[in-house]
């Protein structure tokens, strides 16, 4: 049966049942049966749903199709039903064919003998009648002459009666005889009247075409007919043999012999009955056999399917029952072996993970207890440093300071290893991000004062609520804000909050040294420092952003960076509003409005530029380049314009292919940087769907890949960039790039329409990332 389309009701819904359908409708069972017939006749045509014609027709089709759907579904899903039905149909065909052949042969055999006997009987009769007529004509030749008063007429009539009586007398009801005269009337006394023995009605019993044949030919002809009696007997099948003969006076008449065939018919119907019964039995038995045989095969298959389903649902201890040594048993054994191996592997992995977690926990404990003692001792010494000589006092200070660093490093390491072991758990509850931001900003104020910068919070006039783990979000934001203050060169730091669509975002903008091209990705690498010489003085473990990225990832959110050399940077945390909702975009564009690029665009009268380009490309080029300016960690690819401006462009592959090449190598080299093309901001819906922000990071209608590719194509000298991204790939690999494998960028790509290739690379990278980790 053809598959139903959307119009189908669910299986088992009322109304889809045939019985149900007939009931309420006035049409009744008759119509239903007719319809079913019509369906069978029209077959798949109707059911294919190919009727595009009038709505009435479509309605009719639907109405006709509906009751059949459950059956069709059963047919599709049940191999046993299919095999049994096929067997039944085919054996029915065979039995029917066989029956017809056998019955034909039996009939021929029965009739042949009868016909032969009848023919010889009739021949004899015809001869006798001829002889009799010949004899009578010699007798009555004179007689007729002597009686010219009409006697001969009388005589002929009597003679005919006599003839019929004589001929039929030998039949003993095995046959009957009748005479007919062409054009004979109904007058019984006339010579021309029909005569018959045994009450046969000759006029009705003799078929017209036989009479015609007899009239045309001289010989005898025969035909099957129904013998009809005028005296009230039931008609019966019979053979009629007739011949035109000359009677008295040379009058021609037709003589017919009727041989009833009811005996033969009885025999034949007996044979038919027997065959039908036998055939029915054979068909039913074959069906039953097919059912049993298929069951033998299907039952284990169904069992295997059921167990496979349970296995995949996580019940790894499920096994098939194996009996015997046949193919089914082999299937079962193979299946069980597979399940065994799966279980083993999964257990090994689980054990490994447990061991890792255990190890981390033990190390943590074993390290922390002595560290606590050292820490306390150091503090006691530190407290008493005024009593020491300057060298010892300074030593005490150094000891205390470095213990702080050691502690935070240890804490960060443990946190990272917790992420790596998959032991980090999210405790999400609805929180107002403004509260978190307030706390974080409050905590960072002293540092900001020391640095001479102010922290401004924008967008906190309305609640920004999301389901999140307050502890983690606070950790992420503290990290971002402290980083911004430390790298902000004493300029203001702006914390921007926004909520739109299914996402909330916090962006932290600074106007410090910014990020060099390529660094937007690298900032999230473990132990990476923008400027090693500088960073040592500001402390920090080098793990902060890695942990922040992991925290964001744990929420199903993104953490991305944008920056331009000398123009500051912006870090954006985007979280889904509800914990299990995938992110489609961020309410805040990654590249801030006041970036150098955006200012340039505005100065160049953005509207005109926009008019010049179709919206799609306009946005694309923009995002491409935007990516470029140093944005989002996964990118690297599209840093177009700025890379030329800031000029780290190096040896570059030819521009056209640069992009692809860079990506390729990136993928090959390191999981992380493969993110190359996957710039989240370049994705559709990023800006436009969530927040209508014009083109600022408007949906490009393309994937990140194309977006940044566009950027590349548009801006001269992007190659430097691509090359750099590849370069970066190696570096990322060195520094343990696995976290890059989860960068938000790829996440987004994976969701992006048309992002299939990107999604693919995500997969690759994920696996690679894992490999790197392992």
């Amino acid at each position: 049966m053809p598959r139903d389309d959307g119009a189908a009701p669910a299986p088992g819904t009322p109304g889809s049942h045939p019985g149900r359908r007939v009931g309420p409708r006035a049409a009744g069972a008759q119509v239903a049966r007719l319809l079913r017939l019509a369906r069978l006749v029209e077959g798949g045509l109707l059911l294919q749903g190919g009727v595009q014609g009038s709505p009435v027709l479509r309605l009719f089709t639907r109405w006709v199709r509906r009751p059949l759907l459950p059956a069709a579904r059963l047919w599709r899903r049940n191999i046993q039903l299919r095999v049994v039905a096929t067997t039944l149909l085919m054996s029915l065909g065979v039995v029917l064919l066989l029956g017809f052949v056998v019955i034909g042969q039996v009939r021929n055999g029965l009739l042949d003998a009868k016909v032969k006997a009848s023919q010889s009987q009739a021949d004899g009769g015809f001869r006798a009648a001829k002889d009799k007529a010949d004899a009578a004509s010699t007798d009555t030749g004179q007689g007729a002459a002597t009686t010219p008063d009409g006697r001969p007429e009388q005589n002929a009539s009597a003679w005919m009666n006599d003839l019929v009586g004589q001929l039929s007398s030998g039949g003993q009801s095995a046959f009957d005889v009748a005479t007919l005269t062409p054009g004979g009337d109904g007058d019984a006394s006339s010579v021309r009247a029909p005569r018959a023995s045994g009450g046969v009605d000759p006029i009705q019993s003799v078929p017209d075409d036989l009479r015609g044949r007899i009239a045309r030919t001289a010989g005898a002809s025969q035909s099957y007919t129904r013998i009809i009696y005028s005296d009230g007997q039931d008609s019966q099948p019979g053979l009629v043999i007739g011949k035109q003969l000359n009677g008295l006076n040379g009058n021609s008449y037709e003589l017919y012999y009727f041989f009833p065939l009811s005996q033969e018919e009885k025999s034949l119907s007996l044979v038919k009955g027997t065959l039908a019964t036998a055939g029915l039995f054979v068909v039913v038995l074959l069906g039953a056999i097919a059912w049993l045989v298929v069951r033998q095969v299907v039952t284990p298959v169904r069992m295997a399917a059921g167990i496979a389903e349970r296995l995949s649902a996580g019940r790894l201890q499920e096994r098939m029952k194996v009996t015997g040594e046949d193919d089914i048993a082999r299937l079962g054994e193979a299946f069980n072996k597979m399940a065994q191996n799966l279980q083993l592997k999964i257990q090994q992995l689980e054990d490994l993970s447990r061991m890792q977690r255990r190890f981390v926990s033990d190390v943590s404990h074993e390290l922390r207890t002595p560290l606590t003692t050292v820490r306390m001792a150091a503090d006691v010494i530190h407290e008493a440093r005024e009593d020491f000589d300057p060298v010892t006092a300074r030593s005490a200070e150094l000891l205390a300071d470095q213990l702080d660093r050691f502690e935070s490093l240890l804490a960060d390491l443990l946190e990272i290893s917790r992420f790596d072991a998959g032991a980090a758990a999210l405790e999400a509850e609805p929180i107002d991000l403004r509260e978190v931001v307030r706390r974080v900003v409050g905590g960072a104020e002293p540092l900001a004062e020391r640095k001479g910068s102010r922290i401004r919070v924008v967008g906190d006039h309305q609640p920004v609520v999301a389901e999140a783990d307050a502890r983690r979000v606070e950790r992420v934001l503290r990290n971002l804000v402290v980083n911004a203050v430390e790298h902000g060169d004493g300029r203001d730091v702006v914390v921007r909050l926004a909520a739109a669509g299914g996402a909330v975002a916090v962006a932290v903008r600074d106007y410090g040294v910014g990020l060099k091209p390529g660094e937007a990705t690298r900032v999230f690498s473990r132990f990476w420092r923008a400027d090693p010489a500088r960073a040592r003085t500001t402390g920090g473990t080098g793990l902060g952003l890695s942990i922040a990225l992991e925290d964001a990832r744990l929420h199903g959110g993104w953490l991305q960076a944008w920056g331009e050399p000398g123009g500051g940077s912006q870090f954006r945390l985007t979280l889904p509003r509800t914990a299990d909702e995938p992110l489609r975009g961020s309410p805040i564009p990654l590249e801030p409005d006041d970036s150098r690029r955006n200012r340039h665009l505005r100065e160049a009268r953005l509207p005109r530029a926009r008019a010049a380009l179709p919206p799609g490309t306009g946005a694309a080029s923009r995002t491409g380049a935007g990516t470029g300016t140093g944005t989002t960690q996964p990118s690297g690819s599209g840093r177009g314009g700025h890379s030329t401006a800031s000029g780290p462009s190096g040896t570059a592959p030819p521009s056209g292919t640069a992009h692809g090449a860079a990506r390729g190598s990136a993928h090959g080299a390191a999981p992380g940087s493969g993110a190359a093309a996957a710039d989240p901001t370049a994705l559709p819906g990023n800006g436009s769907r969530v927040v209508p922000r014009g083109t600022s990071d408007a949906g490009t209608g393309t994937t990140g890949t194309t977006g940044s590719a566009d950027g590349d194509a548009r801006v001269p000298g992007p190659q430097g960039h691509s090359a750099e991204s590849a370069q970066h790939a190696h570096k990322a690999y060195d520094t343990g790039a696995q976290h890059d494998a989860h960068t938000p960028g790829e996440r987004q790509t994976a969701h992006g329409p048309g992002g299939v290739p990107a999604a693919d690379t995500v997969g690759n990278r994920l696996t690679e990332g894992r490999a790197a980790r392992g």
Partner: protein, 225 residues
């Protein structure tokens, strides 16, 4: 106010260091290194506060905590090397009032200890009502229809904090500050666990709390009386 502190820790170096710090702050520390002996030591020393390491030979810290809590409401501060949620929550659920994660600074530890001991200062006589409960702050008793309900000092403080301002919704951070004495927001799990424990004692149906009501997304408040 100076108090007796029982330190239950198997690491002798840490215990000694703790002793130095505590004595420096004017406390009277006593020590026990074995979980099995902890309860006996507790009965003998009658401390005002217990510092309890979670990982102990013999009985582990959780078990010791449960035993002490079974016979006394004395403040218990856990020392733990594990900041994983499960470990912390299990510790808190076994009856600890507060926890401090190793490695900690001596000042931090002392602040926590003082915060736990602070409440022993004489409170003003005060009668509060929350739900169908009557709280005698000075008498440190909570009664429902004349029936006294036994609460630990911390649970009592928590209940009193809520009952004093029934109109106010307390965020977890505010409760941490008021009840635990944290300056800066610490771990809100502390609040969650203790609210659960308080509810299990004072609510008729802890599944549908009427006395300590959750305000989703914000915190807790006292139920209508």
């Amino acid at each position: 106010m100076k108090g007796r502190v029982l330190v239950v820790d198997d690491d002798t170096a840490l215990a000694e260091m703790l002793g130095i710090v505590l004595r420096g702050e004017g406390f009277e520390p006593s020590f026990v290194a074995d979980g099995d002996k902890a309860l006996a030591a507790f009965r003998e020393a009658k401390p005002d506060l217990v510092l309890l390491d979670l990982m102990l030979p013999g009985r582990d810290g959780i078990e010791v905590c449960r035993l002490i809590r079974a016979e006394s409401g004395v403040p218990i501060v856990m020392l733990t090397a594990k900041s994983d949620t499960v470990d912390v929550v299990v510790g808190l659920e076994s009856g600890a009032d507060d926890y401090i994660v190793k490695p900690f600074k001596p000042k931090e530890l002392v602040a926590r200890i003082r915060a736990r001991l602070r409440r022993s200062e004489e409170p003003a006589p005060e009668q509060l009502a929350i739900g169908d409960l009557v709280i005698d702050v000075a008498g440190h008793s909570v009664k429902r229809e004349g029936q006294a309900i036994a609460l630990t000092p911390l649970e009592f403080d928590l209940l009193v904090a809520l009952a004093r301002k029934p109109w106010q919704v307390f965020t977890r951070e505010v409760l941490l500050e008021q009840v635990w004495g944290y300056r800066h927001a610490a771990d809100t799990r502390l609040v969650n666990v203790h609210v659960q424990r308080l509810r299990s004692k004072v609510e008729k149906d802890p599944e549908r709390p009427e006395i300590v009501v959750t305000v989703r997304g914000v915190g807790y408040k006292a139920g209508p009386s």
